[in-house]
C-alpha cells in the first residue's frame, strides 16, 4: 500500500513539477546590471555573479563574464560549488571585462529571493593577480536592485535597475 502511494506521489510530481517551475518562472523578474571596472592593469577579468542563500552558500549561478572555460578554475570558490552542482551556464555567459571598461547585461532573479536574506555575489579573478571571492556582495533588497553599490577590488561599482 505504502508502495502504491509512493508511486502516485512520484507520478504527481512528474506531472505537476514542470507546471510548478513555469509558475516560478513567472515569479521572476529581469534586471539590467552594469559592472564598471576600475583602471587596473592586466588581463581581462573573469567575473561570476552568484545567488547566495541566507546560510551563505552558493545557490545558483546568475551570470558569467568569461572568455574561456579553461580558466574557470581560477574562480576557486565558485569552481568548488559548480563541480558539485553541474549546470549548463553557456546561455548565461558573456565576454570577460577589461580594466576601465564597463559591461551591461540583463539577467533574471526570482521574486521570492528579494528581501529574503539572499545576496548577490560578484567574484573576480584576473590572470596572475589576486583573486577576490567577494569583490562585491550585497543583500537582494528592493532598494539595492535599483541602486548603485561600490565594489572593493577590480569592480568600481555595480548599478542595477529592473528592466
Amino acid at each position: 500500500m505504502a508502495y502504491k502511494l509512493k508511486l502516485i506521489l512520484v507520478l504527481m510530481i512528474g506531472i505537476f513539477g514542470p507546471v510548478a517551475s513555469i509558475a516560478q518562472n513567472a515569479g521572476s523578474k529581469q534586471y539590467k546590471c552594469m559592472i564598471q571596472m576600475t583602471n587596473y592593469a592586466g588581463e581581462e577579468a573573469y567575473i561570476v555573479v552568484s545567488l547566495i542563500n541566507p546560510k551563505g552558500a552558493y545557490e545558483k549561478t546568475i551570470y558569467m563574464f568569461a572568455k574561456n572555460n579553461k580558466w574557470y578554475k581560477d574562480l576557486g570558490e565558485w569552481h568548488q560549488f559548480s563541480k558539485k552542482k553541474l549546470a549548463n551556464i553557456s546561455a548565461i555567459t558573456g565576454a570577460s571585462v577589461a580594466g576601465g571598461d564597463r559591461s551591461i547585461k540583463v539577467f533574471e532573479i526570482e521574486n521570492s529571493k528579494i528581501n529574503k536574506g539572499y545576496k548577490l555575489r560578484f567574484e573576480v579573478a584576473v590572470e596572475d593577480k589576486e583573486y577576490h571571492v567577494k569583490d562585491l556582495e550585497f543583500p537582494l533588497t528592493t532598494a539595492n536592485v535599483s541602486g548603485k553599490i561600490d565594489g572593493t577590488g577590480y569592480i568600481r561599482y555595480v548599478r542595477m535597475s529592473p528592466n
Partner: protein, 731 residues
Amino acid sequence: MTISIWRYSHLALAVSSFLFILLASLTGIILAFDPVAQKTLSYRVQDFNNITLAESLPTIRKEYPEITDFSVDNNQFVILNGTNSEGENISVYVDPRTGRSLGAPKAQSSFFEWVTAFHRSLFLKETGRFLIGFTSFLLLLIALSGTVLVIQRQRGVKRFFAKIVRENFAQYYHVVLGRLSLIPIIIIALTGTYLSLARFEVFKIQQINHKIDFNKINSEDKVPSAEFAVFKNTLLADVQSIEFPFSDDPEDYYTLKLKNRELLVNQLNGDILSEVRYSRSAMFTELSLDLHTGRTNSIWALILAIATINILFFIYSGFAIMLKRRANRVKNRYKSDECRFIILVGSENGNTFLFAKSVFQQLLNAGEKCFIGEMNNFDSYARAEHLIIMTATYGLGDAPTNAAKFIKRLEEIKQSNKVKFSVIGFGSHAYPDFCKFAFEVNNKILAQNWAEPLLDIHTINDKSPEEFMQWVSLWSQKTEVSLNISAKEFKIRPRQLQTFTVIERSELAQPEGAFLIKLKPLKRVRYTSGDLLAIYPANDHRERLYSIGKIGSSIQLSVKMHSLGLGSQFLYGLKPGETIKAGIDRNAHFHLPEDSPMVIMISNGTGIAPFLGMIDQNKKLKPCFLYCGFRNDQSFNIYRNILDNSLETRRLNGLHLAYSREGEKKYVKDILARDEVFVSGSLKDGGVIMICGSLAMQRDVLQLLAGLCQRYNNRDVDYYQSNGQILMDCY
C-alpha cells in the same frame, strides 16, 4: 677588432635565444593569417570613412532601443551589444547607416586564441611573458648587430644595398634576405619589446579619471541626438567604442572612446561633460599593436608573415655558417717550437682554413712536423724552416680579424734562423683592392732579415681550386716535399657535364706542335672567352683544363701536342661529328673587362686561345693589341689566317710576334720591352693587360712590368694588380 665584437654579439645573441625566437616565429607566422582571414568577411560597409556619428548613432538606436554599447573593430566592422525585446543579451554586426543586422559575431577561433596565448606567454603565464618580451628585445639586438655587420661587409652605409659577393648559399641569402627584411623585423622586435614593457607596467599606465560636476548638468534644453555637434563632428572611423547611457537619468551619459581621447557626452543635449586625451604611451601601445599584429592592414600582415618566415631561414642559415666555421678549426699535434713547417692563416669566415688544413694534413701525412695557427698568434719558432701564410683580405683591403695584429707582431718578433716563406692571398676580383692585405704582408715579411722568399706572392681568386693547385705544385717543386692534394677537395658540388659535338680539328704541322679544335655545346650553355673547359679523357678523376676562346657560338681550344699527354692525345683523336662530355668552369677574373678603354693581350704558345675568342667577340672595336710568342713561324701558322682577318675587321689593332727559335730569337717580354712607353702608358690610362701562357713567361713579364711601372708611372705593380688592371691565367 670591432668587427669581431659585432660578429661575436650577433652569434652569441642568436645562439642564446634561437629556441624562443623559433617558437615565437612559428606562432607569429600562423597569427599573421588571422587578420588576413578576418578581412575576408564582409561586414565592412562601403564608404565607411565618411560616416559621422550623427548619421549612424540615432539610426542604430532606433533599430536597437536596448543597445548598451557598440564598438568599431580593427576591420572597421561595427558590432553592438544590448538586449532584444525578449530581454535576451545579444551581440550583432550592424550596418552603421541603416542599423540593419549583418550577422552574429563568431567567437574568435579557438585555434588562433590558443596560438595567440602561446605566442604571448608560451603557456607559462608571467614567466613566459617575460621570456617572450626578453626574446623580442634580443631579436632587436640581433637585427641591429646584423645591420652593423652588413654595413661593414659592404664597406659603408651608402653601399648597403650594393651587390653582395656570393661565397655560399647560406652566407649569401643570410645577407640578401637580411637586408630585405631588416625593417619589418626591427619593427616586429621593437613593438614586441614595447608591448612587453607596457604589459609589465614599466611605463606609467594612464588612469583615465573623468571629473563631472553633476550640479552643472543641463537637463532643461533637450536636443535630438542627431543634432549633437559632437556627433556631427565625429567620424565613425575615429571611434573605438561608444557606451550608451545606463538609464534616462540626466546624470547618465554617453562615453565616446575615440582613437585619441575619451569623451563623456550629456545624453539630453550633447554637451561635452568631460574630455581626457590619451597619453603618448597609450597611443604608442595601440600603434605597436597595429604594427606588431597587422590587425588593421592585411598587406602589412602578409609582409610581417614573410619577414617572420625569413627569421626561420636566418636561424637555419646562421647555424649553417657557424658550423662551417667551426668545422675549420684544427688541432695541432706538435708544439710550434718543434715544427719545421709553420702555416699561419688569416681568415674572416673560415674559408681560407679549408685550404690551409689540406696542406697541414698532407705535411703531417708526409711525416713532417707541421704547425697551423692564426696570424695573430705569430711567434718565434725555434726550428721553423718554412713559413706559409694564407690570408684573405677583409673590407677595404684590411686584415681579417684574426690577422689584425700580425704586422705589429711581425715587427716585434724576430726569428733566430733563416726562414723561407710563401704568401698566398685569397680574394675576389669582384672587390677592388684584390688581395691587398696579402700583398702588404708579403712586402713586410720580405723586409725582415730572417726571411727569404721561396715563391712570389700567389693570389687565388674566388677560392679557385685550380689556382690553389698551381701554388701547391710550385711549392712542392721548390721544397721537394710532395703534397698529395687534389683540386676536388675544394669543389663544393660535383660538376655538371654537358655534351659537346666536335665541329672541326686542324692537322698538326709539326710533331710537338699545336692544333685547334672547335666544339659546339648540344644545349644552351653560358660561357665566354677566358672560361675553362674541363675534360675527362679517361673518364676518371683526371681532369684537364683548357682555356676557351669563344668563336661565334662554338668553343675553340688551342692544344699543344704532347707525345704522352693525356688530354692532347684524346682531343687529337676526335673526329668531326663525335661527341664528348665536358664541364665549363667560369673563370670570371679572366674575362675581358667591359669598361676598360683598351687592352693589351700577352701570350706564349697555346696561351693565345682565349685571346682569339676575345678578339672575335670584340664587336665594339675596343682598341686591342696582341703580343704573342711562338717557337717559330710554323707554330704561328695555324693562327695566321684568323688574326689577319681580325686585323682587317679592326677587331685587333696591333699584332706583335716574337719567335724564340728563329730569326732574332726573341721572347715576348723582349717585344714588350721594345714598346715599354706604350705598355706603361696604357696602364696609366686605365688600360688592362691580360697574360695567358706559361708561368715562366708570366714571371718574366711581371718582372718587366714591375720595372716599367716604377720607372714610368711611379707605382708598384701591386697597385695595378689589386686594381684589376693586370689579369693573369697561366699554367
